[in-house]
Amino acid sequence: MKLNRFLLGAVGMGLLLASTSFSNAQDITIALSAEPSTLDPQAREDGAERAVSDNIYETLMQRLPDGELVPGLAAELPVQIDPTTWEFKLRDGITFHNGEAFNAHAVVASIQRVIDPAFNSEQLAYFGTISGAQAVDDLTVRITTTGPDPMLPSRMYWMKMLPASYVTDPAVAEVPVGTGPYKFVSWQRGSEIQLEANADYWGGKVCVQNATMRFVGEPGTRLSGLLAGELDLIVNLLPEFVSSVPKAVAVEGLETPVIILATDTGVTAIPEVRRALNLAIDREAIAESIFGGYADPAQGQLVNPAAFGFNKDLPFYEYDPEAARKLVEDAGATGKTITLLGQSGRWLKDREMLEAVAAYWGETGLTVNVEIEEWGQFLSRLFSKDVRPDSVLVVNSNELLDASRETTFAYQAGSGAASNSDAELAAWINEAVAEIDPEQRAALYAKITAYANERDYLVPLVNIEDIYGLSERLDWNPRRDAKLMIREMKLSGC
């Protein structure tokens, strides 16, 4: 029959087309969970953009995979020549992908671009202390800060260097030109970005010659691509999939789910009930069952364990359902309703955590009312200054690795999503942000986290690990800073 022949033909054509997509021995395909919003490396705060730009652009300072800060485009560690001035010596003989020389002018132009208020960069949070830069000679740059800034060298790990002639060119948003180990080839909107190895890279030869970064939003689709052999590296692998993929690697991540309690209204105004809410949750079980072991119970605070300001002296939360029940009973709150506001599908395992927490809290004798709201609605309730939800689950992510972000977001009264009205705590947080002496600052954050821990303002759950799925032929150790450095990836062929 004609129809049969037609069907056979169609299937045959499909096979033929598919067979042409087999990958080359030195090419890899990486799945990102989102498409970059731009390829301008200085404009946005966008993880997908960073994943691409990290391979094309470079910074004055870089970090080894274990976190040690070492010179990158700088020839040596910078020196502080006066309290507000740092001097950087630059490596000689480096050129951008467009042939332009990397020199002091490029550094000055890049710095001035990102700190220009008119440019309105979302990355200003990283660079707020920098007031300017001057070229001393072709390979020497002085960076000035508004006040003494001991963190300046690590800030320079975030600032990507552009060619001096390119900083005003609008093409920078679409055609990145850096000094890095990979050159930009093409950006097919909606599907992928292609990179190729930079043969003239100053840092030596790399193993992977061509890299394709595909944008695959769904975790299940990423997994299927890895299983089907289309992909070599997938990000944000779900813990359940670890046993299904050829290889999986994990590293401590930046995200911490936390429940913010309203300390002035509802049943959560009672300190004993707040304590009970913390005691009622088995964080080990959540880490084990929901995250498949790829998470660690939070240590009494929202601050990320790797962040500056983490209070390592705080105890881990106990799990004591009996005590929790008794506390609720003694407070006369048994049978009262607590609302738990959350999201579904926005953050890793958000829904599962909501349901698990609701079950644990239900055990204490409270009636838990889980409300999952659409994002816009959720946001207006999260930020409402008038009516606070009893409790709300959000996932905090800390790319800066500094406690200032968590404390202003969830601890400081009247700011972000904080649900308390503790003026004393808020004052300490302001003090900590302004403090320049690192030891003083650390001490302040220790005081803040201990204070909030004692009063159970928050219910931090677990610190989540990042899991990556790898194809059989790829070897790679993930980095603590979650950067996808293609030059650190090894294929079995080279």
């Binding site: 975790p219 779900l238 599962e352």
Partner: protein
Amino acid sequence: MAAISVYGADTAPPKGRRWELLAELWQDKAATAGLVAVLVVVLASIFAPLVAPHDPAAQDIIARMDPPFWMEGGSTTHLLGTDHLGRDILSRVIYGGRASLLIAAAVVLVAGGFGTMLGLLAGYRGGRTDSVIMRIVDAQVALPGLLLILLVISAVGPGITTLIIVLAIANWMIYARVVRSVVLGVREMEYIEAAEILGCKPGRIMFLHILPNLISPLMTLAILEFTNIILAEAALSFLGLGVQPPATSWGLDVASGKNYIFVAWWVVAFPGLAIAITVLSISLFANWLRVTTDPQEREKRFARGQAGALRRAAEAKRSAA
């Protein structure tokens, strides 16, 4: 939503023919199976707390993604296995039907009621009323339906009430069209004219004399629309814009299971099958109903049956010879 044939006067069979009708249904095995399946789904949904073996929301952290009982590692505790939170899939499918059927029924009632009203009005009053109403119908048909639905839900926030309202607003037009054309046909009939001459009020004429003629075409249309709404609700819930957890529906269960499909296909397969079986069964029965209530189609069915019998007889004779 293929073209719906519109038929005139009263075609509902008299009461005494109920048994005959059932016998006729029995002749059509597919339609019978459809009706039985629909009844099973509806009853299971209504009596979900009695039928479901487990609480659909109860999580069992140890028993996550257990396979169905016939596979290795499965057990009869969870006949169709468990999902990624260790919830019993069979129970979830049973409870999921509640939301899906309820929403579909509500949408059909609201959209059908509204559309019928406007269709009656347009057809009976004619003139300006007719042209204004039909203009609205035409205009709404030309709107980018699903995109507007997405826009509304993204602004208002998803939920069952939002879903019902939005789907009803997007689907009332077809009822108005069908009703209007039936009314236009009936209006010309002598007994309506007689009623008008006798001085019956328009409301009385509409409800007492015209509405009965609509029951049969409206029934068929409503049943067909019902299946469309089930699919639409499932699609929106799948996109995360319909029923929201912790409530459940079939589409939502497919959505929350879709990331696990490659390690636990049953999480997605069974809710999807539930949708498919329900829709298919309703369609099979509706198909039969449409033919049964339409004299023209009945005639054709009869003729086809006769022709088939003759052919079979001829073939039998030939093969015997």
